[in-house]
């Protein structure tokens, strides 16, 4: 390992963001602020109570989106970057692709870096497929000559041979994505940065895209930094991974171990405070206080009973109802229910109120799911938190293999009577 060449060196990389207080963005606002100031009045645009729930520094105006991250990438390595939303993955990629500059620290590279952040940037609807291939390729850093030599390959890979001279505005969205990915995949930088592109396109194309990624990584010996929420892809593609949490790198090692650590999660994975939750519907009462999945620390297993504990503050209510809703990673609603459906009437008790929602034989396939919660007063909803908590579901049936991804998000234990 030591004799391999280091192609990318990241050292003490930090990026600081300022929470929106300083500039209001318009001259008139700034003039108004100045006018208030000379009369000794308060700043009319000062925002109070701006919080970033994901940061450890609570009452500071600054947020470290990335803090003192250091790691090296060897030539030919495929490095996975794992982390929850807001952990700093995108910031890291933005810094790597030079979209913005770091606050401190350095990135040193021995090769060109090209990024595949959300493909299709710069497509112009009026231009033909051919013209867009050239334009998009050039935006991504290729020269015209380079694109020319790769042109046929790109068109073939995207499968749009018939529509090369058709304006892109007549393409289906799938075709656009395929074309965009094809251009980007045929880039020839020494280091390729990929962010979640595989989440698009149909199953067949996704397979093709992953295959291409594997070729790039393994066959052509190029270095790839790969960000995804899909652990299957990370596992398939990456030899090593890093795990980001709240802007800090908490782990760097073999992919399998990093994924394990990520899925176990921090204490936030199974227990979450719902006070001042960012997804709470505006203007609603803060009834729900805390949610605990299972016992708060053990894994959730597919097909077993799942207990969800919700702490409530019901002082203002005479009667209440509660409901839940599961969504998969694509945001599709999978299952939901509420106490009204069962005709159950609930009345607040004195002291601390908590309700346990027990779902028998959880019919969710292993993946990550979000849980939304609703509390009503018996007539209408008074507290709504969409995606209150997101947690993974695991598979642990000894004699049954886990369902394939394309079989969907739900499953039922099936008997084969013959």
């Amino acid at each position: 390992m030591a004799e391999k060449e280091i192609i990318l060196q990241i050292k003490d990389l930090s990026k600081q963001y300022r929470l929106g207080v300083v500039g209001t963005g318009t001259i008139s606002h700034d003039l108004n602020r100045w006018w208030h100031k000379i009369r000794g009045k308060e700043d009319p645009y000062l925002k109070i109570g701006e919080k970033n729930a994901r940061t450890t520094v609570g009452n500071s105006k600054y947020v470290w989106a990335l803090k003192e991250v250091s790691f090296n990438v060897e030539k030919g390595e495929v490095l996975g970057i794992i982390g929850k939303n807001g952990a700093g993955k995108s910031t890291l990629l933005k810094l790597l692709s030079k979209v913005t500059t770091p606050t401190t620290g350095t990135i040193r590279s021995r090769g060109r870096i090209a990024s595949l952040l959300e493909v299709g940037t710069g497509f112009h609807p009026e231009l033909t497929g051919k013209e867009n291939i050239f334009l998009n390729g050039a935006i991504l850093g290729m020269t015209k000559a380079e694109i020319k030599t790769k042109f046929d390959e790109i068109v073939e890979f995207a499968g749009v041979q018939r529509y090369v001279n058709t304006p892109v505005k007549r393409y289906s969205s799938g075709m656009k994505v395929r074309l965009a990915f094809a251009v980007a995949a045929h880039l020839e930088p020494e280091i390729l940065v990929v962010d979640e592109v595989l989440a698009v396109g149909d199953a067949e194309f996704q397979k093709k895209a992953i295959g291409k990624m594997q070729d790039i990584a393994k066959g052509e010996g190029r270095t790839v930094l790969f960000v995804s929420h899909d652990m299957t892809n990370i596992q398939n593609l990456c030899t090593k991974s890093i795990l980001l949490e709240n802007g800090m790198m908490v782990m760097h090692g073999e992919t399998e171990e990093v994924i394990k650590r990520y899925l176990q999660g921090s204490e936030e994975t199974y227990v979450k405070s719902l006070k001042a939750h960012e997804n709470r519907k505006k203007g609603r009462q803060e009834i729900m206080q805390k949610v605990t999945i299972g016992d708060g620390s053990s894994k959730v297993i597919s097909g077993q009973d799942l207990k969800i504990n919700v702490e409530l503050n019901l002082t203002s209510l005479e009667e209440f109802s509660i409901g839940y809703l599961f969504k998969n990673e694509k945001g599709q609603v999978l299952m939901a229910s509420n106490t009204m459906q069962y005709g159950t009437k609930l009345y607040p008790k004195s002291g601390k109120n908590a309700i346990a929602i027990v779902i028998k034989n959880l019919p969710l396939a292993p993946a990550s799911y979000s849980l939304s919660l609703f509390v009503g007063n018996g007539k209408f909803d008074i507290d709504i938190i969409e995606d209150a908590i997101t947690f993974p579901v695991f598979w642990e049936h000894e004699h049954i293999l886990p369902p394939a991804k394309k079989w969907g998000s739900t499953f039922g234990i099936t008997l084969w009577e013959y």
Binding site: M1, A2, K4, E5, I6, Q9, K11, Y17, G23, G25, T26, I27, S28, D30, F71, N72, E74, K94, L95, L96, S97, K98, V99, T100, T101, P102, T103, T104, G105, T106, I107, R108, S109, R110, G111, R112, S115, L117, E118, T121, G122, H124, E126, L127, E131, F134, L135, A138, I139, L140, G141, M142, T143, K144, P167, H252
Partner: protein
Amino acid sequence: MNKPQENNTWLFEISPKSSLFDFKFKEIWRYRDLLLLFVRRDVVTLYKQTVLGPLWYLIQPLLTSVIFTLVFNGIADISTGTVNAFLFNLAGITIWNYFAECLKATSDTFKKNENIFGKVYFPRVIMPLSITVSNLLKLGIQICIFIAFYVYFSLSDKAGSVSMYILWTPVIIFIMGLLGLGLGMIISSMVTKYRDLTFLVQFGIQLFMYVSAVMYPIAIVQEKLPSYVSWIVEYNPLAHVIESFRYMVFSGAYMENPTNDFSILNILLMLGISFIVFLFGLIIFNRTERNFIDTV
């Protein structure tokens, strides 16, 4: 972990600091294909637009010129010598429009391209540069109309005569483009901080036109207005560029007493000024491009 091999050379380094005068000309040169493709895109999409799109570039200068003729020559009675007043105004407007279009289009570079700038890196300056180049097409269209009217009016001898200095036209256009680009880059950097500046730009360009000798010769200002007002025009580099252009095409026939006061030194001076504006704009632009995505 691995020890970094400090002695080896790195291809590049990204760090928080960079030199103020790092213009990255080398990088811009490497992306020259992108510049050409952007220009191509602008040209092709202009051509693919509806009929009224390209037609607008004909209507706008012609109508403006007609109104200027009515107001400034008809009502205010500004003399244009033996040159037809409409043609005189058209000359000024044609060359002014190139500057104004470049300035207007480049001044919201950052805001307009926020989406693409937020995702991929390329030298941002490619964007305003390509705008300046592709605006040459519109200028070309307008020059063609101007030539058509010039020929028409010269049949009745109302167009003066073309001077030898006409060969300097490319330099004049270059100065206008460079000034528009430079100012546009400065403004586009400020727009990232103050969004309402865009409205001021529209208004400012209009005001600026009235002090840039677009619809009157500089000599008239000196003659009719007191010196504490006329200096605005006299020291306005754009006024001199426009005046030079008119001198070139009409050989000064629009003046009361045509003199041979076309000065090459003057043009070179304007060239110098526009270079300074451009470099200043580039410095500010490069500063802004580093972190603007955090503030937009």
